[in-house]
Symmetry: C2
Subunit: 317 residues, 2 copies
Amino acid sequence: MYYIGIDIGGMSIKTGLVDETGRLHFKKVFTTKPDEPSLIIISCIADFVKEMLAENALTLKDISGIGIGIPGSVDSKKGTVRYCCNINLVDVKLVAELSKLLNFKNIKISNDANCAALGETRFGAGRGAANTVMITLGTGVGSGIISDGRLFEGGFSAGAEAGHTTVMMKGGDECGCGFKGHWEAYASATALIRQTKRAVEKAPTSKLAELAEKGVTGRTAFDAAKQGCKAAQKVVRKYLEYVGIGLVNLCNLFYPEIVIIGGGISNEGDYIIKPLQRYANKYVYGRGYNPKIKITRAELLNDAGIIGAASLCMEQS
Amino acid sequence: MYYIGIDIGGMSIKTGLVDETGRLHFKKVFTTKPDEPSLIIISCIADFVKEMLAENALTLKDISGIGIGIPGSVDSKKGTVRYCCNINLVDVKLVAELSKLLNFKNIKISNDANCAALGETRFGAGRGAANTVMITLGTGVGSGIISDGRLFEGGFSAGAEAGHTTVMMKGGDECGCGFKGHWEAYASATALIRQTKRAVEKAPTSKLAELAEKGVTGRTAFDAAKQGCKAAQKVVRKYLEYVGIGLVNLCNLFYPEIVIIGGGISNEGDYIIKPLQRYANKYVYGRGYNPKIKITRAELLNDAGIIGAASLCMEQS
C-alpha cells in the first residue's frame, strides 16, 4: 500500500507516492493556474492524482491515504482551507470536495511548513525524536513543530507562525505581511539579500561588492565570506544572529530535542549549523540544567513537503 | 473525595483542598526556609499535608491526588525538579521522595505558571476553551499554555518560557536572567516600575512624579494616568504595547481561543484588557480569516496556583 503526498505551491503542484517507511517511489510535478476558481483547482488536483496512479498502473484501492500540504491557513480538523496568498484556494472545503471527486475517504490537510516538519521528523533529520522544531529559511521563514510525536498546529490549526513573531519591536525592518520587526524580516533569504545589498553600498570595493555585481542572491554573502571578505563575514555573522534569536525563542517555548534547519540557506551546511549550535548553547533558557538541544540540517530537502503530507495519513498524525 | 493543591514559593508554601469542580474548600499558607537542604524541604511539605488533613479531620484515603506547582524547571514525566531559583529544590526526585514519605502514589508536579494556566482554564476565565494562553504580569512574566484541552509543557517539560523570548534584539533592557531584550524585561511589573521611574526623571513636575514620591509600584503609572497625567498615560500606553507584542507572538504560535491575563497588573481590569484586545485584533497574524482571539482577565487570582496544581491529578491533565 502507498500513501499519496501532495505539496501545493503557487505555480506547481507536486505529487508523490510514498510508502509507510517514508520512501518516495514516484514523484510528478504538475503546473497549475493559481487564479482559477477554487473548485477548478480542486478538480485539477483530482485529475493529477488519477494521472499519477494510471502512470504507475495503480488505482485508489492501492492507496491508504492522501495528504495535502497547503501554502496558507487551513482548519485541519474540518478539512477546510481558509486562505492562501499565492493560489486561489480560499474559504473552501478542500477535503470534502476532493473526497467527493475521487470517491476516497482518508484525505488530510495541513499547512505546508507543518508537513515539511512532520516529514523531516518521521523520516529525515529528526528520526527518533518526539519533540522537534523545523525552520525553513527561504523566501519567507517557515516553521513547523512536532510535540510529543504529534504535529502541533495550535488552536484552529492556525498557530506555528514563528516567522511573524516580533523580535525587533522598535524600528524593525518591514515583513512581507506588512508589519515591522517580524523574525521573517531578518531571517529569510529575502532578508539576507536585503542585508547583503546594504553591506555592498557601505563597502563598494569589497569582494562582496564584486560578487554582487552578478546579482545578489542568498548565497552571495556566504560565498564572499568564505573568500575572506570582512564585510561579507559581518553580514553572515549578523544574519546568523538573527536566525539564532528566533530559533532560541522557539526553543524556550517548545524545548525540542532537535531543531531542523531547511530551505535554500540550509545548503550552507556546517557553515551555518555550527554557529547556530553555539548560539543555542549560549542563549537557550535553562541551558544550565535542561537537556542540550541539537541543531541540524534538513535531509529530505525538496521532498520533505510531499513525504510529510503523505505521512499526515499515517498512524499517530 | 478531594485533591490537594500545593503552590510552592520562595518564602511560603500554599496548600489547599480542592474538589473535582475546582472549588477550594480549605487553604493554608505555611512559611518555609528556602535555604534548607532539598530533603528537609520535602519533609516539611509532607508535614504540611498531614497537618492540613488533620485540621480537616481527613486522611490520605480521602484524597484522590496531590498536585504541586514548582517555581522552576521540572521534568513532570519523571517527577523531578531540575532547578528553582528562590528555594533549594535542585536536582531532586520530588515525587518519589514525597510519595515515600506520605505513602501515597498519585502525586504530580509542573511549573507554577503552567499550574495557574491549567487552573484558570479548567475552572476560571478559560472555562470551556480547549486552547488558552495565560500570561502572569508580576515580578516576572509567567506563561502557561493549554493546547487541545491539555497542559502544554514542551519537550522535557522545559518549554512555555515566553518571558525569556527576545522581543528587542538590539539594545534591549536587561532581564532578570541576565540577557537583554527579553519580553519579561519590558512586560513585568518590575519593568513597568523601571519605565515609570525613567518617566518621572523626564517629567519631574508631573502628577506621575508627585505620586511617585510615595514610592513607585506597578500601580503608580496607572493611578496617575487615570488622573489625566500625560506622562503617565505615555508610560501606560508603551507598557501595554510591550505586553501586547509578546501576547501577539504567543497567539501566532499557539493560536488560543482565549488569552488570560493574571498577576498584579491584571487588577487594572478593563483599563488594560481593552487596549490589549484592540492590539491583538490589529496584529495577530491571519486575523482577516482566522477566528478572533479573546483577551480576558484571570478570575481565580491568588488561588489559581493551588487549584491548578490540584487539577494536575484530575483526568485529562
